[in-house]
């Protein structure tokens, strides 16, 4: 029993780490641009399939690096052409636009690569289970967590110590003042959007290695990412980090006792947080409420 519980907690943390990677990208975009990026799952799919297409030429490691960058470039272009026009308008419009983009990405990948699942091959060394006696976790899953940990740490360092990072954080709190100080807010938002999409693309490659690729895979991780943000508190990246891990572990533990409810538990958690602490665990009062 203890072993089973421990296994599921570990598993939950791994899934949670994956949610974190998605949710932090969403959160970055939401905080600075006030856009709920419904197409975030779509960008994940694009990232995964790009890796699949690039792998024969670049190998797994090359694809792991190149695919997220390409996805970020696509995201950057879409921000420049479409989403930028909607800043300052009712958030309804960016929501609908990205909702439409999600349809286009999902069906577009289905059109190009087919509805059948596609594998992203992973290096032999990562595919082996770590230990057969204790419990079954492949090296790849641990590798995923490692990539997430490194990426998130890097992101937090960039936000803390680089000029653009500080501007992004300042813009989250008060964009008008940042603009008044002569900073190019348009470029800042584009950069921020591209960074968020980079994370989605990276999630896509990682998920592809674990579960294989399907055009619909983006939609299924979108909701947990939303919940991670709401639980952690809108406006706080650290909150999103905690929120993602928390719902991952909660659904891991629930899977032991009541497998059918492992998805529902996230929503219960969200309802509880909204009742007891409406701004979310780390959210700042007055921001976006």
């Amino acid at each position: 029993m203890t072993q089973l519980l421990l296994f599921n907690v570990t598993n939950g943390l791994i899934i949670g780490a994956f949610y974190v990677l998605m949710a932090i990208g969403l959160s970055l975009i939401l905080n600075l641009s006030n856009v709920i990026n419904f197409a975030h799952g779509g960008f994940l799919v694009v990232g995964g399939y790009l890796a699949f297409a690039l792998q024969p030429y670049l190998g797994f490691w090359g694809a792991l690096i190149a695919a997220p960058f390409l996805t970020a470039i696509i995201g950057w272009a879409i921000e420049r052409v479409l989403i930028r026009r909607l800043y300052g308008r009712d958030p309804l419009y960016s929501l609908l636009l990205t909702f439409g983009l999600a349809f286009i990405f999902e069906d577009g990948t289905r059109y190009i690569w087919g509805a059948q699942g596609k594998p992203v091959g992973i290096p032999e060394a990562l595919a082996r289970p770590l230990s057969n006696s204790l419990f079954f976790i492949t090296g790849y899953r641990l590798f995923m967590v490692g990539v997430v940990a490194v990426t998130v740490t890097l992101l937090f360092l960039l936000l803390r110590y680089t000029r653009s990072g500080v501007r992004i954080r300042a813009g989250t709190l008060d964009l008008e003042t940042v603009a008044a100080l002569g900073i190019n807010v348009r470029a800042l938002r584009s950069l921020n959007f591209a960074v968020g999409i980079f994370l989605a693309g990276l999630s896509g490659v990682l998920a592809g290695g674990q579960l294989g690729l399907e055009p619909t895979m983006g939609a299924s991780v979108l909701m947990p990412s939303f919940i991670a943000i709401i639980v952690g508190g809108v406006g706080s990246l650290a909150g999103t980090l905690v929120g993602g891990l928390l719902i991952g572990v909660a659904s891991g533990i629930t899977a032991v006792f009541l497998p059918a409810a492992s998805e529902a538990i996230m929503y219960v958690l969200m309802a509880l947080v909204l009742m007891l602490r409406p701004r979310g665990l780390f959210g700042e009062e007055g921001l976006l409420t």
Binding site: I36, R89, L92, L96, F99, G100, F103, M223, A264, L288
Partner: protein, 327 residues
């Protein structure tokens, strides 16, 4: 403009409104007769009415209170399941089934609404999306009751008894159209009455300037909660009708992509206009019907429609026409 001319102008304005109203209702009442000539069929008309009502329920909140709920499919779908479950397990009665669906969706919507009315803007939208999905998972997982992914079946709409006469609405699609039209008219009439009432004016005041409304002593949260709950009841009622249309309820009716379709219908038709969502539903359903009959990748085109409407017709068709007339 002189005062007399102004009065005259207002007179023609209200005449025009009356004419438009009459035209809409006559067109709806005669739909089974003119639709075959433009390539439609009665069942399509019934579906448009029901989905249009759902879009109007979303717009009751979005267009007139300015609150964006992106999770209305949940209440719509709960209405469908409430209706279907009653018909399947409890009683073979269409009015009771409608009532059961409406109450199920409306009450649950009102309860959850109480949790979230303090949220605004994108945050409100996000929370409604996420909560909406709860019911999708429940319908999906609880397959012993709901049939899971396969949907809830079999159940059939029961004939209507009016004491001296019984109307078969199962086989006779024209009779069923008129039944749905009557249900639609009742709901739309109530909606219009609510919007013209002091309560409806207050909703618009909140939309236009929430802070000012608050300073005037209007309990904003309470009003938003009431508007949200009413809108959930309307959506659930539409959902219950939808279960009758299909003799079927499935989890996809609860999914957030369905919510997106409703919001799209409202925006496409014109969300500042009472009849906009119905027009949006007509265009959306007919387009979807047509595109999905010629290509399996119809989702790409629906996605493109979303993008194009947002970029070029943000006020919707009716808003665009009004703008052009003024110009």
């Amino acid at each position: 403009m002189t005062a007399a001319a102004q009065v005259e102008g207002m007179g023609s304005e209200s005449t025009r409104r009356f004419a438009a109203m009459a035209a809409i209702w006559i067109a709806l009442a005669l739909a089974p007769y003119w639709m075959p000539y433009v390539g439609g069929y009665t069942a399509l008309g019934t579906r448009v009415l029901v989905l249009g009502l759902a879009a109007m329920s979303v717009n009751f909140l979005l267009g007139f209170t300015g609150v964006l709920s992106f999770g209305h499919a949940a209440w719509f779908g709960l209405g469908a399941y409430g209706c279907g479950l009653l018909l399947k397990f409890v009683a073979h009665s269409t009015p009771l089934a409608l009532l059961a669906g409406t109450v199920l969706g409306g009450v649950l919507g009102g309860l959850l609404g109480a949790l979230i009315v303090r949220r605004r803007g994108v945050y409100f939208a996000m929370v409604t999306i996420a909560f909406g999905q709860v019911f999708y998972y429940i319908a999906f997982q609880w397959s012993s009751l709901t049939g899971g992914d396969d949907g809830l079946r079999p159940f059939y709409r029961a004939p209507l008894h009016f004491g001296f006469v019984t109307v078969d609405i199962l086989q006779n699609s024209t009779a069923f159209y008129y039944f749905v039209l009557a249900c639609f008219a009742a709901a739309v009439g109530l909606m219009g009455f609510l919007l013209r009432s002091p309560f409806g004016r207050t909703m618009v005041a909140i939309r236009e300037n929430e802070r000012r409304a608050r300073f005037l002593g209007i309990p904003v949260e309470l009003h938003i909660w009431i508007a949200f709950t009413l809108s959930c009841f309307f959506a659930a009622y539409a959902g219950a009708l939808y279960a009758l249309v299909n003799n079927f309820a499935d989890p996809r009716g609860l999914h957030y992509s369905q919510s997106g379709d409703f919001v799209m219908m409202a925006v496409l038709g014109g969300m500042r206009n009472f009849w906009g969502p119905l027009l949006g539903a007509i265009v959306f359903v007919v387009l979807q019907d047509y595109i999905s009959s010629i290509t399996i990748n119809w989702q790409i085109f629906i996605g493109l429609l979303f993008v194009l409407v947002v970029l070029f017709f943000p006020r919707g068709l009716l808003g665009y026409l009004q703008q052009r007339r003024r110009a």
